[in-house]
Subunit: 471 residues, 2 copies
């Protein structure tokens, strides 16, 4: 059951069926991997403007057994948005389906088309006096369709959940070109299987999400942030549980930052002001969203003092106003840039049961010592157990000199994570880069069920071929 290439005949057939300009040659941005590892094959791209056009395109591809690679904002880090080899696919970009269809502030709800950038959705929510809490570094470029397809995470998951938790209903095109009109605005609906959550996170391999009914939240009356220096990740975790007990439901983010991250920032971006005079071994960025009646500064001081008494907090900086809060966040958000400038041997998007984290970090560092004096920058969303555990050359070294170690390093880290019941695809998804990991680490029963579901919903195998499940 091999696929056919999206050859000139097929492209001409589709072109004739659709409004002018819908089928074009893919631009370089449609074929690029942000980390530059792979490049998609030059070929056609479809830019539909309605769900009906998407349905026509998918139906035609199903009839002709032509693969479809759905494309959101192109920011995915695991190669889910490009196909470097195999029969030439049709790239399906939803960039022209970029309208906010409806806003229901009184229902805390908004209906957005898949091609809206995340920032566009955030701004529309803001305009309605509400908050759409999904927050990612790439929010100006990534699209809500891609966020849902990958069940994106980001920094506010601890409070508001992943993308899946922010979606009430979806409109999608199924593998045979059928439209599922599922834009429900219901908070409770047990009328049948949860195909919404199945499509979300399936990375376009079970259907194409074309629009979504999204959950908005009330805006906190005020926000407040602190950088707290801590002796180690164990202390950070205990501090987190104190924060959640003192401020239940009000901790919007709780980010772990290693001392190595501060070194990397100093090395690659010397203009960034280091927060503490003496660099701490670790720090956390705590962000709170508080209701009327609670004093933000007092809440942070109380948290720090409780931590300091127990030896969990070494020092703290409270953001004085929004500008300094933004500065704290810029520190956090510049870490990936610094990492790229240093150049990683191997990056890992892992999650662990919370209580396994304190032992995992030193154990993994110790095990990696066999590869020489590599540097490890471990940072991320501690509250979600989600770490970016990235491995770098020694100071002055270059990643290319360690290319031969890459697979072994990755395998060692992933094996350790799997042994602790963790995930090696925590928030970035599986894409095409991690299908081998899924095949290796997934529960065999789940894997068989996944293959059965894929075969049932996409019998021709046209939807994002090779993503999530290797052929």
């Amino acid at each position: 059951m091999g696929l056919n290439a999206a050859n000139p005949d097929f492209t001409a057939f589709l072109t004739a069926k659709l409004p002018e300009g819908t089928i074009r040659q893919a631009e370089p941005r449609h074929l690029a991997d942000p980390r530059g590892r792979w490049t998609g094959q030059a070929g056609p791209v479809a830019l539909p403007r309605s769900v009906e056009e998407v349905a026509l395109i998918v139906g035609a591809c199903a009839s002709a057994s032509v693969g479809i690679v759905p494309w959101g904002g192109g920011t995915g880090l695991v190669g889910g948005q490009l196909l470097a080899n195999g029969p030439l696919p049709l790239v399906l970009s939803l960039e022209r389906m970029n309208r906010i269809r409806e806003t229901y502030p009184e229902e805390n709800m908004i209906v957005a088309e898949a091609g809206c950038t995340l920032q566009h959705v955030q701004q529309a929510a803001e305009g309605a006096g509400r908050l759409f809490p999904l927050t990612l570094a790439s929010q100006g470029t990534c699209t809500i369709g891609g966020n849902l397809a990958t069940n994106a995470g980001g920094v506010n998951v601890i409070r508001y959940g992943n993308a899946r938790a922010l979606c009430l209903g979806i409109e999608a095109v199924l593998g045979d070109g059928t439209i599922w009109r599922g834009l429900t605005r219901l908070r409770k609906d047990n009328a049948g299987y949860d195909l919404r959550d199945l499509m979300i996170g399936a990375e376009g391999t079970l259907g194409i999400i074309t629009a979504a009914a999204l959950v908005l939240h009330p805006k906190p009356a005020r926000n407040a942030a602190a950088l707290i220096a801590v002796p180690d990740p164990a202390a950070a975790l205990t501090l987190l549980s104190i924060a959640q007990a003192q401020l239940p439901g009000m901790v919007s983010a709780f980010e772990l930052i290693s001392g190595v991250a501060l070194d990397f920032l100093a090395e690659t971006m010397p203009d960034i002001r280091q927060p503490f005079a003496a660099p701490p071994p670790w720090l956390v960025l705590v962000d709170l969203g508080l209701p009327d009646g609670l004093d933000a500064e007092q809440a942070l001081i109380r948290l720090y003092e409780t931590g300091a008494e127990k030896g969990l907090a070494l020092d703290a900086l409270l953001a004085q106003g929004e500008a300094q809060r933004a500065q704290f966040w810029a520190l956090r958000e510049n870490i990936p840039t610094a990492n790229r400038r240093i150049g990683a041997v191997s990056s890992h998007d892992i999650s662990l049961p919370l209580s396994e984290i304190p032992a995992f970090i030193p154990a993994a560092e110790k095990a990696l010592a066999q590869f020489g004096p590599l540097r490890i920058n471990c940072f991320g969303h501690l509250g979600d157990g989600n770490l970016h555990f990235n491995v770098f050359p020694p100071k002055g070294g270059h990643k290319d000199d360690h290319a031969g170690q890459r697979d072994a390093v990755k395998r060692l880290v992933h094996d350790m994570v799997a042994a602790l019941g963790g995930s090696v695809a925590a928030e970035h998804g599986v894409g095409r880069f991690k299908t081998g990991d899924i095949a290796r680490y997934a529960d065999p029963g789940k894997l068989a069920a996944m293959r059965a579901v894929k075969a049932a919903l996409d019998p021709m195998g046209i939807l994002n071929p090779g993503a999530v499940l290797a052929p």
Copy 2:
């Protein structure tokens, strides 16, 4: 592909494979419908004590094409737990898989076997200094396995979500007897399709959930409740949005109660003290869970005063301590008992987009007038848009005198709900009583995809045959 009966040969075969006492004759409780509409067929019941025994049973049923009816606590209201006709099934009760396997207070996590009653899970959480927030009238009897199979709702969904939102991972037996060991303790995991959420709410038709990793929450520092008299449901909704803006994330429940409910309580349970001297047209029960530093009484007074100024609140009673809070809740929880004593012509478990509710209630009442002077008791979880819109005979009448109107009344209500984008199976599930509604109202694309998923994961059709999807 018809199913075979669980005949004496098959029962003898299974009996020989399993520890003594595992296969028995079903007791009346295994065959009863709480509302007395249907009775299951007398036959065998399996009471396994481990997931391996469940796997053996399901595998044997798959080989012999014998249907399985999973049984939790038997409290389901839609006939999902009993099969009144067709080839005799094996009832599979998980009542002996009732251990709390692990508790991780520092991770806000607990692992419970499917046969634990909801109350057992709540108490285990309490013992760990945490809260398991799922709260239902039947919590002493229903099981967490049943709660997950039906994605149960209850009174705290507005704050903590449905059962699905409270589950991180499941252990389940798939349709061919394979065990899926998916008891992950991860908050972020995008390694493959979300089969967990697919199994949750599938009512045992796609797999048998045998254990679950459940989310615990910190306990609020204090709780507080008020009964607020309101002129109508529109006022109640506006008051809700004020409450959520003033107290984001702190409204644990927001229940709508009709004046008719108070009449029913007075009629059938005269010992219950009526809260207000002059019975209001509608009231809401607001329940708050607050952190340290916020004054509960002040918060409720502020909410009432804001509402009163705008004409949204007519009167209010603030619970003076836990005993009175429990009294307010008893008032709410006795409504279903009063309803049973009156005897309904037809009950409806519906949800609507929030902003459709104010117009729906009077419109449905008006449309139902064609059936004569029926009484309507509309109450429920307003914050979730989930109403129990139940229709009763006129005062002094008996439901049996209206049996002939039942189907037409139900059809009228369900048609109106569907036309507004609502659900006719909001929190009780589909079971066997509502499969016709799913066939009528579900999106055709979704329905086809549901059938494809069912065929893929249960090709023999042995898992809870006839539930959710009619054959």
